[in-house]
C-alpha cells in the first residue's frame, strides 16, 4: 500500500521474539496513521480486565501517515495503551525526529507486548530489529540514555525514544521522551515501558517509502511548505514559541494559578517566551522537516541554576510548574524545574497539577508536614516544590502519593472528587475553561481525559476562526460551542493521525493533495473529515469499552467556581447547556455514553458497534 512501509514490528518482550506483521490495509485506509491507526489495533487487544502494568497490555507506537516525507511540519507520531494512570484509553503524541526515522527504518509502527525479565532496549536499523541488554542503562536519565546508546552502537544519528528513572520506578504519569525534550507526555505511556523493562527504542534507516506519485507529492508538499513558511502563526511560534502565550494567559485568565483558585499571576511574565527571546535565547531547534522551528534553545547565565545550552520550557510546563503552585519563578529556576521533570521523564502537566493540589490541601490544613514528610507546601515555596518533584520522580514518600494524581489523592484524604481538577483521571491542562468556555466541553469529552490538543477550541474562541471548517471566530465566553467543538475535534483527530503539527497552517486542499498523492486513496475534504470523525468515535468507543460512560463526561466542581478578578471576570462554562447539545451531535447515548450503532455503522465500523454493544 503506497504511503506506508507496509509492516509493523511485533516485539514480544517475554519471549524476545521479534516478528514483522503486514500492515492491515483496511485499518490503514480507515484510520490513516498515528494515534488513530494505533487505537484501532489497541481496540482488538485490550478489555476491562487488562492490567495496564501487566504483560497483556500492549504499548503501540505508530508513525503519522506523512512522517518522513517532505511535507511541512508532519513529524508527529503517536502512542496508545491502556493507561496505568487513568485505567482506560490513553494516548499521546510528539514531534521531533523519531517518527520520521522509524518510517525510514522500515516500519509504520511497533507493538510492544509482554514483559522482559531484565532491562532491554530495541534497536531497529534498516528493517532489522534486535533486542539488546540495557542493564547498564537502567537508572540513567533521559539525556544520558540516548548518549550511551549512540556511543554503544557507534551511531550518532540514531533517533531514540526512552524512559527515565520515573517510569522505571513506575510513576504512573511517566513519559516516553525523545530528543530535545519532546515527549509522549500524558497518560503514562512511559510507565508501561517501565513495566515491560524496555528502556529505549533506537531507530535509523534509509528505506524508501513507496509513494503513489512521488512527483505530484513533491509538488503538493512544496506548495504546502510555502504556505506554512508565510503564515503569521509560523512567525510568532518561531519568535515567541508556545512560551510566549504566558503573557496572553495572564491577560485572559487562561493560566491556572494556585491550583485553579486565583487569577493568573502577573509575575509569570518574567518567564514568558518574549522574555526568553529578549534575554537568554541562543537558537532554535526544529522537528523533522519543520520550517517553524518553535523550540527555543537557551543559555542561562544568571540565577541559581546555570546552563550553557538548554531546551526552553513550553507554555504548559511553565504554568504547571510555576503559577499552579503559586511560585514566582525566575528563568533559571523555571528551566531547572522543567529539566528536572524531563530528566526523570514524567508529565509536567499532571505532576504540576497534582503538586498544586498538594499545596492547596496544605494551605487548607487538610494535610500537614506530618503527611508531606516535612515539606512546607505554602504557596510560592519553590524549594519545597523542587523537593516534591524529586520525590515524585523517585516514587518515594509523599511523592509517591502525589504521583498517583489528584483523583487518588481525593480518595486518600477523604476529599470530594470535585476537588480533583481532572476529567477521566487526567489533569486539566493549562488552558482554563473559565477563560475559554469551549475548553470545558473539549476536556469533558476527550477520549483519553482532559486534552487541550484534541480540538481548536481556544483558537476559534480566541478570535482566529477556522475557515476550512466553516468556523467563524467566536466569543470566548459564549456557550454555543457544541458544533465547533465537534468539527474541530474531528479535524484534530485527523491531523494527529496524519502527523501534522497544530502550528502548521496548511490549507485543507493541500492536506488532501498530500494524502492522495502519497497513498492514492483519492479522498476529498469531506472524506478526510469523515475519517477524523471515525477516529474520534473509535477512541470514544474504546474508552467506553474500558469502562467510561456519560457520568465521566463532567468537569470537576472546583473549576466551575467563578474567579471574579483577573481575565476570567467570573465566567464559568455552562456545561448543562453545552453537553446535551454535543451529545446530540455526536449521537452518544445519554446514559452509557456510547456512540450509537447507526452512527458507528455510518462510519464503517459495524464491528466496533457490536463489540461495545452499541444501540
Amino acid at each position: 500500500m503506497n504511503g506506508y512501509q507496509g509492516k509493523l514490528l511485533i516485539a514480544d518482550l517475554t519471549t524476545g521474539a521479534l516478528t514483522d506483521e503486514p500492515l492491515n490495509e483496511k485499518y490503514a485506509r480507515d484510520f490513516l496513521g498515528g494515534t488513530g491507526l494505533a487505537a484501532r489495533y489497541l481496540f482488538d487487544l485490550v478489555d476491562e480486565k487488562t492490567d495496564p502494568l501487566g504483560p497483556d497490555n500492549p504499548l503501540i507506537l505508530m508513525t503519522g501517515l506523512l512522517n518522513g516525507t517532505s511535507g511541512p511540519s508532519v513529524s508527529r507520531w503517536g502512542g496508545v495503551t491502556k493507561s496505568p494512570y487513568t485505567g482506560h484509553y490513553g494516548d499521546a503524541n510528539a514531534g521531533a525526529w523519531f517518527g520520521a526515522e522509524l518510517k525510514n527504518a522500515g516500519y509504520d509502527g511497533i507493538i510492544l507486548k509482554g514483559q522482559a525479565a531484565k532491562p532491554v532496549f530495541l534497536l531497529i536499523k534498516d528493517g532489522v530489529a534486535e533486542l539488546r541488554d540495557a542493564a547498564d542503562l537502567w537508572g540513567k536519565d533521559t539525556t544520558q540514555t540516548p548518549e550511551e546508546i549512540k556511543k554503544t552502537c557507534g551511531d550518532k544519528r540514531l533517533q531514540i525514544a526512552c524512559i527515565g528513572p520515573a517510569s522505571e520506578n513506575l510513576v504512573r504519569f511517566g513519559n516516553i521522551m525523545s530528543e530535545h525534550g519532546h515527549s509522549l507526555g500524558r497518560a503514562g505511556l512511559g510507565c508501561v515501558m517501565g513495566s515491560k523493562k524496555i528502556k529505549a527504542i533506537a531507530v535509523r534507516g534509509k528505506i524508501k517509502m513507496p509513494m503513489d506519485d512521488s512527483e505530484k507529492f513533491r509538488q503538493a508538499a512544496s506548495k504546502a511548505m510555502t504556505e506554512v513558511k508565510e503564515a503569521f502563526l509560523t512567525q510568532w511560534m518561531h519568535e515567541g514559541g508556545t512560551a510566549s502565550w504566558v503573557d496572553s494567559a495572564i491577560a485572559y485568565g487562561d493560566g491556572p494559578t494556585k491550583y485553579y483558585t486565583a487569577p493568573t499571576m502577573p509575575e509569570a511574565t518574567t518567564i514568558s517566551g518574549a522574555t526568553m527571546a529578549e534575554t537568554c535565547e541562543i537558537g532554535h531547534t526544529a522537528c523533522f522537516g519543520c520550517p517553524i522551528r518553535c523550540r527555543k534553545v537557551l543559555q542561562i547565565k544568571e540565577g541559581k541554576y546555570q546552563y550553557e545550552k538548554v531546551e526552553g520550557p513550553e507554555y504548559e510546563s511553565l504554568i504547571a510548574l510555576g503559577a499552579m503552585m503559586g511560585l514566582e519563578l525566575d528563568m533559571s529556576t523555571a528551566v531547572y524545574l522543567n529539566e528536572l521533570c524531563n530528566q526523570y521523564g514524567f508529565d509536567t502537566i499532571s505532576s504540576g497539577a497534582s503538586a498544586g493540589y498538594a499545596f492547596y490541601l496544605y494551605e487548607l490544613g487538610i494535610i500537614s508536614e506530618k503527611d508531606t514528610g516535612g515539606l512546607k507546601l505554602t504557596w510560592g515555596n519553590t524549594e519545597a516544590a523542587i523537593e516534591l518533584l524529586h520525590l515524585i520522580g523517585k516514587n518515594q514518600g509523599f511523592g509517591a502519593i502525589v504521583a498517583g494524581g489528584t483523583r487518588r489523592m481525593t480518595q486518600r484524604y477523604g476529599r470530594p472528587l470535585g476537588e480533583a481538577v481532572q476529567t477521566k483521571g487526567l489533569e486539566i491542562p493549562m488552558h482554563d475553561p473559565r477563560a475559554y468556555h469551549s475548553m470545558g466541553l473539549v476536556y469533558a469529552t476527550a477520549p483519553r481525559g482532559a486534552d487541550h490538543n484534541k480540538s481548536d477550541g481556544y483558537q476559534v474562541d480566541g478570535g482566529a476562526g477556522h475557515p476550512d471548517l466553516g468556523l467563524d471566530a467566536s466569543d470566548r465566553w459564549g456557550d454555543e460551542k457544541a458544533e465547533m467543538v465537534f468539527k474541530s475535534q474531528n479535524f484534530r483527530a485527523l491531523t494527529d493521525s496524519l502527523g501534522i503539527c497544530h502550528f502548521a497552517q496548511i490549507p485543507f486542499n493541500m492536506i488532501v493533495d498530500m494524502v492522495n498523492t502519497s497513498t492514492g486513496l483519492n479522498m476529498d475534504m469531506e472524506g478526510l473529515l469523515k475519517a477524523g470523525e471515525r477516529i474520534f468515535q473509535l477512541q470514544r468507543a474504546l474508552s467506553c469499552k474500558l469502562g467510561i460512560s456519560s457520568k465521566d463526561d463532567v468537569l470537576p466542581d472546583l473549576i466551575l467556581r467563578p474567579i471574579p478578578d483577573g481575565g476570567q471576570e467570573g465566567h464559568v462554562p455552562d456545561m448543562e447547556k453545552m453537553l446535551p447539545e454535543y451529545y446530540k451531535i455526536r449521537d452518544w447515548n445519554n446514559i452509557s455514553g456510547k456512540p450509537s450503532r447507526k452512527r458507528l455503522q455510518s462510519l464503517n465500523m459495524p464491528e466496533i458497534a457490536t463489540s461495545i454493544g452499541a444501540k
Binding site: W236, M237, V246, A251, A277, G462, G567
Partner: protein, 94 residues
C-alpha cells in the same frame, strides 16, 4: 479623550518592538489607527527580516481586549481613563 496604555501581549511585544505604548484616544478604533501608523512599519519590517514575502496584516492576526473582554477589530467602543487595553494574537498555543 482618554489616556490609555496598550499592552502588546506575548509575541506582539517582539513584533512591535515594545511591551506597551500609551496613547490619547476616544475609542478603540482610534487606538488602532495610531498603532498602525506608529507600529505598522515596525511589524512589516520584522516580517520581512524573517523572510516573509506575503503581505500580512497585523489586524488579521490580533485582537484587542478592553478590560479583559475581546473586541471586534473595528470596535468604536469608547475609552475612559484607567481602562485596561491589551493587544494580543488571535491564536492560543502551548
Amino acid at each position: 479623550m482618554a489616556k490609555v496604555t496598550v499592552n502588546f501581549l506575548g509575541p506582539l511585544r517582539l513584533f512591535l518592538g515594545a511591551p506597551a505604548a500609551t496613547f490619547e484616544a476616544g475609542c478603540v478604533a482610534e487606538v488602532r489607527e495610531v498603532i498602525e501608523k506608529n507600529y505598522g512599519p515596525v511589524f512589516q519590517k520584522k516580517l520581512r527580516s524573517m523572510g516573509v514575502k506575503k503581505s500580512l496584516s497585523l489586524w488579521d492576526n490580533s485582537l484587542f481586549l478592553l478590560n479583559g473582554r475581546s473586541l471586534k477589530k473595528e470596535s468604536d467602543a469608547p475609552l475612559k481613563d484607567g481602562d485596561k487595553l491589551d493587544l494580543g494574537v488571535t491564536v492560543a498555543g502551548g
